[in-house]
Symmetry: C2
Subunit: 163 residues, 2 copies
């Protein structure tokens, strides 16, 4: 148990997890978007497609949680995928508030065809990491994400995303 890993007087931003994570995300996301610049969909849209295909999500609300976006942004993202014929909206019969999302065959094709771009980037980046290092990193990040989620849930001083 690390009661106090960080202390005010020894704190350095270069070793701050928040700094490292934010900076990494700030480099990755625009680059990923750039990899998609010549495509008909954006990187975020691709992430949504893949999550639908893999059954990780199947409604707008799911996608909002998955991407960490708000529901308004998600509605608009789905609007575009629908307009391009990659996704179909169907009002659910069991619960008429929800709109079920499903991929069209073209959506499935687009999701698949773009996957190699992202994987190639990551495999390049991870070239100097051993396989066990990558596994460790993924495991620690997964736990960290879980810890943050519960911490934010416990401390409901402010309404959180996916409202």
């Amino acid at each position: 148990m690390t009661k106090n890993y960080y202390k005010v007087d020894t704190f350095q931003s270069r070793k701050a997890l928040g700094y490292l994570i934010r900076r990494t995300a700030n480099l990755i996301v625009p680059h990923a978007e750039a990899l998609f610049a010549d495509q008909e969909i954006t990187f975020s849209q691709w992430v949504a497609l893949v999550s639908l295909r893999d059954g990780l999500t199947n409604t707008c609300a799911d996608i909002a949680r998955h991407l960490g976006h708000d529901s308004g942004a998600t509605t608009r993202l789905i609007d575009q995928l629908e307009a391009r014929g990659l996704v179909v909206r169907t009002r659910s019969q069991e619960d008429r508030r929800v709109v079920k999302l499903s991929l069209t065959s073209e959506g499935r094709a687009v999701a698949k065809s773009l996957t190699p771009r992202i994987l190639e980037f990551w495999n390049d980046v991870l070239n100097d990491f051993s396989s066990s290092e990558v596994t460790t990193l993924i495991e620690l990040l997964t736990r960290l994400l879980g810890a943050i989620e519960t911490e934010l849930a416990n401390e409901p001083q402010k309404a959180r995303s996916a409202r």
Copy 2:
């Protein structure tokens, strides 16, 4: 050497580093901003203040790189810190293109007074991690960040941030 950690057919978004990092950042940053909601500065502004105080940065361009923002956004961020009397701009004499930034005593006070909020959050989140796990995570993330930076530099298909 992990030549190919990720493969197209075994790829799952839940184990994707990009997903984990982006999602974590998407949870952390708004929460950090919320912690500052009652303050006169935002979280990003605080990060800039601290980086100036610690000598990690001392110009706009430095801060842009540190935050992963573009230079326009940084100009406006500094504008606000200057308007609030927390930072002073001084044209450099050695190189008259650059504007040196320095904290006022009030800026120093504000930077210091807000640090505990962030550290407390992180110490709560890290409660279930051993000290060595945190160290490992920081080390792996630092290397990952470095690897991404060099990867992006090698592949200059598109101009990168801090233009």
